[in-house]
Amino acid sequence: MRLSVAWWNTSIAPTMRPNRAQRQDVKIFARMIDLMLAQMNYDLLCLGEVSPHIIAILRNRLRPYGLSIYEPNPDSLISAPHLAAIVRDDKLQLVEETKHLAIVDDRATYRTGWKLHFAMPDGLTLLQVFVVHWPSRLYGDQNGLDRNKLGMRLNDEITRVRTSDKEDCIIVMGDFNDEPFDHSVARYLQTSRDRHVVAKDGRYLYNPFWRHLGHRTPYSLGGDNAVSPSGTCYYASDRAARWKTFDQMLFSSGFFGHSPWHLDEKTVQVLDVGLYTPYVTSSTTKFDHLPISATLVREETNGRL
């Protein structure tokens, strides 16, 4: 039994300019959605920066295929980037949701995450998913945001929902606007690049995206030195390093031998496909993030629970 999960910051409708998408952008967006749902068959696809209008269109188109779409924003009193989650109904059943986990200070409201609890396909395991789109560094700096607090408060929430020392199946995914090594993610959200630490100490989350900080293949004379992404998010204006690894997925100890479900780490990937990546590095479209994905596998139990 397998369950595939993915995250994509679509960049198609950011909070400040929700209607900026051109006809060409919408076509590319639709082709990517088709690729991820019809060909790659993701069971849970979380999206960032999608407008209510696009969500409404998707809802109607996806329903005949047994796919539901959830969103945290309708009727919300807080302003935050629009998120959505497309779910394959025969795989995951939504059982609980908290639309906004947020920090409120004297200046602004900052969403630390969107919490979704699903019954997994075995009907026995609770999958707790936190979808994240933290504020950009520019916005944060302008508002005096302490980015470490985003990690600290999200970690508080994850600690609160844990039901055991190590068995919980928790995934945190999204656009952190911070790298795996930044304090907000590494120290305050308590993530680790060392899965042995995570397997031993349930307080930590494993971050497989340390593997995705650089180019996929090393440079060598006569080797495959084709230009490839060295991250998930492209900043053309950064002269030193155009790619950032802002999009990440984090996994709790339950996926490392403490529950029937396991992370199949070789499937963790930054989705680099010819029909889309060139648009991310091009100045002709607004796309600047590559999708990321992973697959979870349930061990065979031969009928045992």
Partner: protein, 149 residues
């Protein structure tokens, strides 16, 4: 080299300072809640009051034999309760409420989300959001209208 004694005096002084900060924070939070209560009592002709009360959550079933909810056990809630001008017995929960020993950050959770208030301004902003939520108005109206003649 002689090892220095642990500085118990400084530790105790820091503890006393922290206790003072926590007491002030909790007084400040109580003032904010009292201000919300005063506004609600005023608008409802003393028929509805706001109070923080202990509650107990059950474990609703998902229908597939296993409960997946994380909202179990005792908790505190911001409640709409009958005011001094009411003889009703009904009360309605407006939001879940959490406050650590140090006062802040306190947490208000209602239909719109779970909000961590980092200080007085943050708490006031969240309570304004709570009061603007349609479900809050419905709950207050229900308590007000439940007064028997």
């Amino acid at each position: 080299v002689k090892k220095q004694m642990a500085d118990f005096k400084s530790a105790l002084k820091a503890g006393i300072d922290n206790a003072e900060i926590a007491t002030k924070a909790k007084q400040e939070i109580a003032e904010v809640i009292r201000a919300v209560d005063a506004a609600v009592r005023d608008l409802t002709g003393q028929k509805v009051s706001i109070d923080i009360q202990p509650r107990q959550a059950g474990a609703p079933s998902t229908g597939i034999g296993i409960s997946f909810t994380t909202k179990r056990g005792p908790y505190y809630a911001i409640m709409a309760v009958p005011g001094s001008g009411s003889n009703a017995s009904i009360k309605k929960e407006l939001a879940r409420w959490e406050m650590p020993d140090r006062g802040y950050p306190c947490i208000v959770e209602f239909s719109d989300g779970r909000f961590t208030c980092e200080g007085k301004d943050g708490l006031e902003r969240v309570l304004i959001m709570l009061l603007k939520a349609p479900a809050t108005a419905d709950a207050i109206t229900e308590v007000r209208n439940s007064t028997t003649l």
